[in-house]
């Protein structure tokens, strides 16, 4: 039985090594598999991975409406105080007071792109965008207000 184990050891070792070599040999002979992006040269056609996290953005639709209710779940979730939400009260047509956001302040220079705010958001108002060219000459430019001027909350989002 010792000899049988020995031979099967050798066989399994050799076949698993050959399997690895087949994979790398496939990569060697197929140049279409190359994933390198020659960044400054192909800036116009640059393709980034779907899950790439560059900064937090708040998507707005054509009517300049977002889905942020101003619940401050993201502000509480943020581990280093990157997000500050200033809320205000709006009058609905029925005459009720409704909470809404005045400004969604996002400090990119403090953000670690940990994605906790996006995960905490109950109404999918914010998401991660694949922008990475963030360098500016003035640090204050990194403090951004994410809701666009004049935007309001989408109908039906509570």
């Amino acid at each position: 039985m010792f000899l049988k184990d020995y031979i099967s050891d050798v066989y399994n070792g050799v076949t698993s090594l050959l399997k690895g070599m087949r994979k790398t040999g496939y990569y060697f002979t197929h140049s279409k598999e190359i994933i390198t992006e020659q960044y400054p040269d192909n800036r116009a056609t640059l393709k980034l991975a779907d899950r790439f996290k560059g900064e937090v953005v708040m998507p707005h639709d054509e009517q300049n409406e977002h889905t942020c209710t101003g619940c401050t779940a993201c502000e509480l979730a943020c581990p280093n105080g990157t997000i500050k939400i200033i809320t205000k009260f709006e009058m609905t047509p029925e005459g009720k007071k409704k909470k809404a956001i005045d400004s969604f302040i996002y400090r990119l220079e403090m953000c670690t792109l940990c994605n906790l705010c996006v995960a905490a958001c109950p109404s999918d108002a914010i998401k991660m965008a694949p922008n990475f060219e963030h360098s500016v000459f003035d640090r204050s430019k990194l403090t951004k207000i994410l809701n666009k001027p004049g935007s309001k909350i989408k109908e039906g989002v509570e």
Partner: protein, 358 residues
């Protein structure tokens, strides 16, 4: 027809006609030294670039592509940088041994070049114990590595050197046995006779499965002997920073780096000579027409093609397999490679005695 053989012959005739035999021999020696150094420099540049390109393709990258078209001058630029850097010697190092070690490693690589047949009748020294000479000289390279590791006065270097010692001493055995199988089949230690014996087919094809096994064992053993991944325990960047050459910088580091690639080239030339027929074109038994067509390709092209194929194979190993631990390394040699090669040598001896090979 212009061939390396005719060039050497014309040169020798011209030298003998102009000078006395002693002076002609001296001039020939100088030419050989210059050619060897040129070969080393060119090989260093080409192989490092080849390695980086192969590594890039295997890892789905592009590799160096900025210096020159397709990055072909990258290694030349790197060499220029290394020449301009300071060759630092640590304060507490053994200065004499520290500075000697890179040259020992290079000298061993240069000595190995002597009996290699690069093309038909193009060989520096056709010594009658060629294979024995190669296996004895190649085991000297461990002295240079131990010297570097010891003289650096650094734990990492010493550990790397000690590992290298254990590794090279172990794997010499199976490399030796793999070489012996061909010596048994050929009945000669002379490189030119080993090549001549493969005129009707390379040993890899003529010697049945035992020679194929010997070839695989040889490739594994020489990968370990040249301290290449997956057997690069002597350098092991993640554990020992750079192993025996941690303390080396500038051109002294470059000499170690160059010696590694020269050693790969040399073990691949020997592998090509023993198993793939050296400069001998692909001949199949009595197919006269086929053999004649194959003869039109120059012998130097055949030799370089085979050598670079083996070099590519070893690079392929490096970028595919993960590094072994020290105990796994020694297990592989003493429990697997050595018994298999001993048994294999017995089989080959039976085949050689009974004349079962083609």
């Amino acid at each position: 027809m212009l061939s390396l053989e005719s060039i050497t012959k014309t040169t020798q005739d011209w030298l003998l006609a102009k000078f006395s035999p002693q002076i002609a021999l001296t001039i020939e020696c100088v030419i050989v030294i210059l050619l060897a150094i040129t070969l080393f420099a060119v090989l260093g540049l080409v192989l490092v670039l080849l390695e980086r390109k192969v590594a890039a393709r295997i890892q789905i990258r592009l590799g160096p592509n900025r210096v020159g078209p397709g990055g072909i001058f990258q290694t030349a630029a790197d060499t220029l940088k290394l020449i301009m850097k300071e060759g630092l010697t640590p304060d507490t190092a053994d200065k004499f041994l520290f500075n000697l070690a890179p040259f020992v490693v290079m000298m061993v690589a240069m000595l190995l070049l002597a009996p290699i047949a690069f093309a038909k009748n193009f060989q520096i020294w056709d010594i009658n114990i060629g294979v024995l000479y190669i296996s004895s000289i190649s085991s000297l390279s461990v002295i240079g590595i131990l010297m570097a590791g010891w003289a650096s006065n650094n734990k990492y270097s010493l550990l790397g050197a000690m590992r290298s010692g254990a590794q090279i001493v172990s794997y010499e055995l199976s490399a030796g046995f793999a070489v012996l199988t061909i010596v048994v089949l050929t009945g000669s230690l002379q490189i030119s006779e080993i090549v001549a014996s493969q005129e009707n087919g390379w040993w890899l094809f003529k010697g049945h499965i035992p020679v194929v096994i010997a070839f695989v064992l040889y490739i594994i053993a020489v990968t370990a002997e040249t301290n290449r991944a997956p057997f690069d325990l002597a350098e092991a960047e993640s554990e020992l920073t750079a192993g025996f050459h941690t303390e080396y910088s500038g051109m002294k580091f470059a000499l170690f780096f160059l010696a590694e690639y020269i050693n790969i080239f040399i073990v691949c030339t020997i592998g090509a000579t023993l198993f793939l027929g050296g400069w001998m074109p692909l001949h199949i038994g009595h197919w006269e027409g086929f053999n004649h067509i194959m003869d039109f390709i120059p012998s130097s092209v055949w030799f370089m093609g085979k050598t670079f194929f083996l070099i590519f194979l070893i690079m392929w190993f490096r970028w595919t397999f993960p590094r072994l631990r020290v105990d796994q390394l020694l297990n592989l040699e003493w429990k697997y490679l050595l018994p298999i090669s001993l048994f294999n040598l017995l089989l080959v001896t039976v085949i050689a005695i009974m004349g079962w090979h083609f």
